[in-house]
Symmetry: D2
Subunit: 481 residues, 4 copies
């Protein structure tokens, strides 16, 4: 029996919801996207949002033109403002990624993704600096310095991969970082800038070490360090899908821990570390993202990640995402916590359960996290380790009350699992309105409620979990009648 | 095993949702009321709504004043229009009850209810006729004759009870009926008028017989006949509550059947019969209305009532209702399908399940109703008879498909039962926002989904029901993969 | 020419929007009411709201019952919580008025208003104290002490009028005040309690003096002093209306000034003074409230009132109000800034114009108020004094810009005047949807925009006002092209 | 004086609002787009909507893949369904344009527009036929044949221009038309198919003649004939804008009239004629679209166009449109009736005024259109001919009433002109929230209301119009008091 102590052993770090990932910038103009984000913000409440493509052609910021034979540039923020206005109205703030390259400022035509993000260095450092300065100054002008100073600004994305940065040329990245960071600080020294947004893998360690050396040597500002974490192996492609091996979830926590360990003793030892992307598979067409397994797999990561880093940002909140094109089916293995049209996946509920945890941690283990909030409510997040076909826990929980009202909410391969229902429906590519309603209904967690006696200040709770089940049990004090 | 035939045995009558009851007229001005009605209309979809108090003082229609020594009357429709505008916007139409008496037109000061509906005849028949004419003409002017001709107009409420009509004086009622009906028809002959809105009980039979004789003898127009049905015995009061015996639900069906039987052979033999109120207990403080029992008790009534009458109107859609005063607790035994603030009761779900039934009836029995809709979906409403502690059914169901997607939604004393949760919470009189959220969550039916094979055009379905469980099972064809 | 100085001469006091009046408590349950308040809060933004009837029967707080031969009392907050939840969701807080008397706690049956507010002292001081304690403790429990400590609590309403307090018995009021204030402070000493909520008139001065003496002598807590202000004379009634003489608007400012003058030298000299009701006429059926005159009449009061008191609360924000019964026509001379169904009256716009004024006052005069906000925008509120048939102003306004964008918004007897349009329409008692749309359209201010040059840091502005015109002119800096 | 007759001279054709244009298909996924369309539908109410790009890559319909060495194709309707679901929810239906070419089905890489619509014939006729069949069959399956049979389906866009169809090869178009039309009819013969969607210009006449010959000779189905109309001359480009000459508006009416004249005597003489695009300038960066001039210029076209064709579709309802890239400023000369974020342009109001006209035409002239609706309201649309600096009209109007309520709504270069205000503000590229509010306010028409006497059944109305003013005057009967 897990004997949950009465005194708190710590406070729950907000790192798990500091940031969430999103598809490319202009997708935020869509209604489906904004409705999904509204739902997410209401039930989960992330603080920041980060995605690619701020400077890509679809956003239309960089606009060179000819005037009397000279090349001039207009910077246009039509869509930038529409998106950020919407973000702020929804209670979420940008985690700004400064990239990719506007095609008219690019030095080559190499692109990444179906939507063709240009991955080459600028053809003109001056024009790049002007672009950064104009953009950051515009943000400060429109939203105020106090606000914008809370938005971390990250230079580029995964420059250690040749698919994201031409030849994965580290010196070229260091140059880009230096001019970019300096320009941000020129606008205002209180703005936060960081990088190098490394993809996981063998090159990441070396890159981070050299990044620390380079920035220290040149006195380049670094307000935070960023890295990504994924736990899947190489992809085997099938039509409209991918099959991959997954490493144990602990691999993710190891990746989270790496930057601080590597930076110990450097000038960057104390700067915040942000995992600006993480997920199991890095592919947006891997069905694992749609399953109950995925919630159980990530549960220990969410419960413990905050010990290791300042944030870890789930990639991504919604299936409104087009890196490999327009999805051909409602469930297609996208990263989203939500599908198109707001069907909740089990991992959505893992996050929604986390949002109901209290501030104080009472206990934590391999299969549970126990918290208490200021109203005395004790919340228990428990999960079946993914290598088991089921699991039981018995807990003795302190509660300051005469009796407990118990509310249990669960997801698994069966419970609260719209993907399973969609499969049973015959996998309709584009469900009809009535089918969407049914999917929304069955996507809700199974909920049960009952009463338990409190004896000598304690409640005994027996939990039996199905395979891949994640459950939230809330014990609320019942006022004496 | 219930062998459900492939050919339809009839069509599901819309009588069950032709009308629903409501608290007094001006309560419809409230936001909680309108939000509740919006939810009801979205998930159930009633056609008409009927309640008391159109002419009571709170609506302010009848407005006598002195002018140069004479008494003149202004008729004011400020609130009438606000309410009916809102009804139409929500897709529901009035079933107009013409009553009670404005206090300035009353011949006595006897009232009914906490809100003091005056139950006496008019002090001036002329002013009453003017009131009816002005009101009906105003409705026709504002909403159009085509629209208003679809609104049944019922003269008074339960005149056979002395608490609703002074001394339960039948001759006085006949006089009121005659002048009222004639005035309605004067405005336009296509308008529908009826009565006598009888309370159940021993006097009802005699009243109805005499009403038929009177109206035939005098040639008074009667477009429909109306009666009420309740199945509870006398009330024993406890503080803020009531205890009553309930007769079996079949009693309600007997009451539904009575008017047509009694009117056989009279001039009213073929007019529509509307049960303009029905429920188990007639008390708005009887906890039975909040229970799972109530849904199971009424299930056979909803399944079969349409054979007997043109409508039977559940009294009432919402706990926003003040006949015995302002409720002191969220759950207080009110009539509502919904509590204040839209917590769904099990009986709400019984209605919502009915709204998912198809047009064709395939089978019907003591514990089930099976229908099919035009998309081939088969819907089974099944219930545990209330005198059993549980119940099982086995059905063989025809389905034109290779496989079936099965969705089951259930309520019982435990499942989808907010009242049980509220009790477990310690019966908070006025729950906090977070508690209201929890109650809304646990008020949703338990939902399960699975696949079943179709063999030789049939699905075999085994259902095991808890005590007082009502369940909806929907079998949808699955397109071949 | 009015030479507006460049340096601020003061800051605009928030007294004008510290509080607004409302019809009786349970009217706040209505949808029309809440939609009106939502509009008001969006465009004006009051901080508190005050009305009568918290303890009147329609709210259902005080609920005595018999139990084993004893009288016990339950306190029920069903509607209290619904209303205050709605207020807080709309961004407005209660200014709590503790009254009137529940009929089951009353010592007599004297009532005020169509809705019968009981005006007699409690029959049991103990039960009154219990009622106060239970209510205040409930509010603190539900909303938190930090929140409730910002809600002023006022004891009763206009006890110096026999229509509001039996015999206008001052000793009886002092007793009520003492036990009530002490009970509030018993719940928590940080709560604010005050009175005596005096009606204007000859008795007010004497009452206030004695109130100060009484509370000082007995050490009774007084956190603020309150009084009302109206400028109309006796009413002559016509059917569904009233005709009254109005004193000049300066009378209102004199009434505002009275409490501080009278309390100088007493123990209450430094407590905040709240004018918890003010208006021209005290009758809800005086057409003056619907006119353009009314806005022009009150403009100097809004511009200057903040010099004299901590707040002055317009009585009331909406025509959803039933002191003399249900209105018989859309425009009926109600107090509201808005009619039923949200038609804006000219006085609404006066308040909306005030809400656009800046923080710094640059100039103020008999016909104008000039402010500047932190963005450099200069806002000029100007009005035609009501005794003139028109009026002109010429101002030289400082502006830190190369050019000015000028936006002028005006209301008068013609401009932005829905009442005039409604009269021209033939005064439809209950306008049809299309007519309501037209009224909403024509209720918007006349708006004009143009550019003006800035010369040596100054803009010259010529304003010509129609009779009873109130105008807002906003001068915004134009960025150099 | 214009003597408006009492008897109707005709009925107002719905041709003016039968259809409206839109930016490319997937832009309809945006929130700004859908909010704009919601506003348009509420105040104007178009029946159909037509735009490019259904088969372009951004919609993702055509999805070839390799399977065991063969090329197979999946057709995906993820976005198609999202868009059409949204259209129907907003009360508007597609006018389906079948084009452009998916790049993986294209025979060349020529594209049109910033967003690269491929303009080449299919590389495989069989795959094109499969695409058409799959798409049309999917629509019928999802939305029902009754619904889809009301959606005209048009083959390609402006094939007579080499920028839209490779080499403007007419034989190739005829082939495409034939296989496409036949495939549509194969799905169901009741579906409507047509073309050839000709651009105006010298080639159009010859193309239409040959299209009629070809389809007659081959028995190819043609349910309607379509053509476009624009009145601007060649473009002179300046940075982010265009300057063009405009022909008189009558040119547009001549273009409308052309098809019927040309088809007289052919087999297509009696098929409906749809002008599936019209506007003044065909450039989305010509400031004329933002001006008051534009409304006055098009007023006679809207008033008379319905005599000539079955529809004429304004190109386009919103500035959410990207044919030449992302706009760099709020006002940029886009086609939209609304800017981004729903600022109404004068031409929006021209359409909103038309939507208030009655069913019966009483009079029509070079500067006016007079109608009456079933409530007796007379609506007068009047405009200042664009070559005048102002204009006056005097009308004698029949009205069946004792008095008239007159409501006048006007736009001009000053009135209801957000573009003028935006210029005065210094042309902010991306206005701040407060500036957007001001622009929305000043974009409303100037509204005035007054009363007029009716003498011998007639009202005399004097109208004085500013330059480029368009005004709507509504005369409503006033009920006698």
């Amino acid at each position: 029996m897990i004997q949950v102590p009465e005194a708190a052993i710590g406070r729950l770090s907000p790192a798990w919801r500091y940031c969430v990932g999103t598809g490319r910038f202009e997708l935020a103009l869509r209604r489906d996207y904004q409705e999904s984000l509204a739902l997410i913000q209401q039930e989960i409440g992330f603080r920041h949002i980060r995605g690619h493509g701020l400077f890509s052609d679809g956003v239309g910021v960089f606009r060179p033109y000819e005037h009397r034979g000279s090349r001039l540039v207009r910077h246009a923020f039509t869509y930038v403002d529409q998106v950020i206005d919407a973000y702020l109205a929804l209670g979420i703030r940008p985690f700004v990624e400064l990239g990719f390259m506007p095609s008219e400022l690019a030095s080559g035509d190499q692109t990444v993704f179906w939507w063709r993000g240009n991955i080459t260095p600028p053809s003109s450092t001056r024009e790049w600096i002007d672009l950064i300065r104009a953009t950051v100054a515009h943000l400060v002008d429109r939203y105020g310095l106090d606000e914008v100073a809370t938005w971390p600004m990250e230079v580029w994305n995964e420059p250690n991969l040749p698919s994201f940065w031409l030849d994965a040329d580290q010196d070229a990245y260091h140059h880009l970082y230096e001019v970019t960071a300096s320009t941000v600080k020129d606008v205002d020294a209180s703005l936060q800038v960081g990088g190098p947004a490394l993809a996981p893998g063998s090159s990441a360690d070396e890159w981070l070490k050299r990044f620390a050396e380079f920035t220290a040597a040149r006195g380049v500002p670094v307000d935070f360090v960023s890295r990504h974490a994924y736990s899947s192996g190489p992809a085997r492609h099938v039509p409209f899908g991918t099959i991959q091996d997954l490493a144990p979830a602990a691999t993710l926590l190891e990746q989270f821990a790496a930057p601080r360990r590597q930076l110990a003793g450097t000038a960057l030892a104390d700067v915040p570390v942000h995992i600006t992307e993480f997920n199991s598979s890095y592919r947006p067409d891997n069905s694992v993202h749609d399953t109950g397994f995925h919630a159980a797999y990530l549960a220990p990561v969410l419960a413990a990640g905050g010990d290791l880093v300042d944030s870890f940002s789930y990639w991504t909140f919604s299936d409104v995402f087009e890196e490999i094109g327009v999805p051909t089916k409602l469930f297609h293995g996208g990263f989203g916590l939500l599908t198109h049209r707001q069907i909740k996946k089990p991992t959505y509920h893992l996050y929604a359960f986390m949002a109901r945890m209290g501030e104080e941690i009472l206990a934590r283990g391999d299969d549970h996290l126990v918290t208490r909030d200021t109203d005395g409510r004790v919340a228990i997040l428990a999960w079946a380790p993914v290598d088991l076909t089921g699991h039981s826990l018995r807990l003795s929980v302190p509660l300051d009350s005469a009796a407990a009202f118990v509310l249990q909410s669960s997801v698994s391969e069966v419970k609260g699992n719209a993907w399973a229902a969609w499969c049973a429906m015959g996998r309709p590519a584009s469900p009809r309105p009535r089918e969407l309603e049914v999917l929304r209904e069955v996507a809700e967690p199974y909920r049960k409620h009952w009463s338990l006696p409190v004896e000598r200040g304690r409640v005994t709770l027996d939990l039996t979990l199905e395979q891949h089940e994640v459950t939230l049990v809330e014990l609320s004090p019942v006022a004496g009648s």
